[in-house]
């Protein structure tokens, strides 16, 4: 059988022990491209992880007493599930009316998207990007672009702070991140950081929203 090598946060290890299927690899939409992508869902803590893969040719693994071709290295990093919910809310938003969430988050191509409905504090999350109405104790949601842009702006600011804290080279010259002198950072202007952070966030939102965010 194929074997995969993953870098995942330590605390996830007992998730797979605590309950059967504690960790599930599922295919969901990539909110930027609309294509499929692999995610990891932690059923215990109801937490979503995106999977990035380091792929370079001519590598393989020795894993204990076996060899595994390909030599791929997978990374699982926590991801804000609101990016995925947003994908469905924007799609439904085109109809311009309030809808119950379980009619919005549906996808015959990626049926596992219903797992997103199990996320804790879902209503709190949704308030960042939707207008809501309550009728007979049932909640109805409608996508709000204004609120979403405000939410995304916060994301960009958090990302700028993280880029600085991690000394990521945002200079316009595309250089390998490994070779740069720290004083380079000071010369990078605030605008470079914002542009870079916008670009990074745009990997998780549709093109149209990315353009709106850029103007915003």
């Amino acid at each position: 059988p194929r074997q995969h090598v993953f870098l995942i946060p330590e605390y996830l290890k007992d998730a797979s022990k605590k309950m059967k299927n504690g960790l599930m690899f599922i295919k969901l939409v990539n909110p930027c491209s609309g294509e499929g992508a692999i995610y990891l869902f932690n059923m215990c803590l109801k937490q979503l992880f995106e999977i990035k893969v380091f792929k370079e040719k001519h590598h393989s693994w020795f894993i204990n007493e076996s060899v595994q071709s390909g030599g791929l290295l997978h990374f699982a990093t926590p991801m804000d599930p609101l990016f995925l919910l947003l994908h469905y809310l924007i799609k439904a938003g085109k109809e311009g009316k309030y809808q119950p969430l379980d009619q919005v988050v549906m996808d015959e191509v990626f049926p596992n998207c219903i797992l997103l409905l199990k996320l804790p504090e879902l209503e709190k999350l949704l308030r960042h990007v939707t207008e809501e109405k309550e009728i007979d104790n049932k909640k109805y949601y409608k996508y709000s672009k204004e609120k979403t842009l405000k939410w995304l702006e916060k994301k960009v600011s958090q990302t700028v702070a993280a880029l600085k804290a991690n000394h990521v080279n945002v200079g316009v010259r595309v250089q390998s991140a490994a070779f740069f002198s720290s004083d380079q950072i000071s010369s990078d202007k605030e605008e470079d950081f914002i542009r870079y952070a916008h670009g990074l966030i745009s990997d998780y939102i549709p093109k149209e929203l990315s353009d709106d965010l850029s103007k915003y």
Partner: protein, 298 residues
């Protein structure tokens, strides 16, 4: 012969030598070079020098170190013991080149072929004798490759010594034959007492002479080929015999610089201009610079 150093690490090269007879630092000496184990597909190749005062060549001849090829293994051992006894007659030194060193030299990215390895080893041993203070005036070498070119290179390297490179030198010059005996004794012993770094379960040392056409050797190679790791390091991976078995029995491996890369058909120039449909947006440079992309399948 004490090969304990070799047994500690038989993946590189190790040098052994006798004490230098005092007389060899005073009187002009003749030095012979020869090697053993050039042809076999397994085990080390051993380069040896033997040197003795010109005035004592007759005594060396008297030892009956005739053409070493005509001697049996036990006769060689006996003669070697006698040379060791006669400490003020001959001195010797040898380089044991492990199969791993041979393979990695020949298969390295920059090829270092067997002839160059041989020439450099012989040169190194002659230099070693000079560094030990031996008054070498003549050197006789059994040829490897083209005698003239080899002779010229050695003569350039050691202008103050008379160098003679000749085929079958071990049958012509007793000091070369003595070197050949040292080399063969060392090689036989190294092969016989080979310490496998690989903890082989069904270890059997029944690999015959080690020559590629020896049926025992071929059978042993086939018995011990491992699809991922090839062979134990006793084997010279760069030998055709070994490669033939690997090509048949072992898994394929691709390297960054493996030839297939170059053979890959060059794309038609037009293909660079045809748009390949809506190109999926490239990942952000943060990921590109780190070789990361979204996993779309497991």
């Amino acid at each position: 012969m004490d090969l304990s150093e070799l047994e500690k690490d038989n993946t590189g090269r190790s040098r052994l030598s006798s004490p230098v007879p005092a007389v060899c630092r005073e009187e002009p000496c003749v030095l012979g070079v020869d090697e053993a184990g050039r042809g076999p597909v397994l085990g080390p190749m051993v380069y040896a020098i033997c040197y003795c005062p010109e005035s004592r060549l007759a005594d060396l001849e008297a030892l009956k170190v005739a053409d070493s090829k005509t001697l049996s293994e036990s006769e060689r051992d006996r003669l070697f013991a006698k040379m060791e006894e006669d400490q003020d007659l001959v001195g010797w030194a040898l380089d044991v080149l492990s199969p791993n060193l041979i393979s990695t030299s020949m298969l390295g990215r920059v090829k270092y072929n067997l002839n160059s390895l041989s020439h450099d080893t012989a040169t190194g041993l002659i230099q070693y004798a000079l560094d030990q203070g031996v008054k070498v005036t003549q050197v006789f070498v059994d040829t490897v490759g083209l005698p003239e070119m080899y002779q010229k290179r050695l003569q350039q390297r050691f202008p103050e010594i008379t160098v003679t490179v000749k085929a079958k030198a071990d049958a012509l010059y007793p000091v070369v034959s003595a070197a050949s005996i040292c080399a063969k004794v060392a090689r036989d012993q190294a092969v016989k007492s080979w310490q496998f770094v690989e903890k082989l379960q069904d270890l059997d040392a029944d690999y015959g002479s080690g020559y590629p056409n020896d049926p025992k050797t071929k059978a042993w190679l086939r018995r011990h080929v491992e699809p991922v790791f090839g062979f134990p390091q006793l084997v010279r991976f760069s030998w055709r015999t070994a490669q033939a078995i690997l090509e048949k029995e072992a898994e394929g491996v691709t390297w960054e610089d493996s030839a297939t890369e170059e053979q890959e058909g060059h794309r038609r120039i037009t293909s660079y201009f045809q748009s390949e449909g809506p190109r999926a947006r490239a990942p952000h440079r943060y990921f590109q610079e780190r070789g990361l992309e979204s996993a779309t399948a497991l």
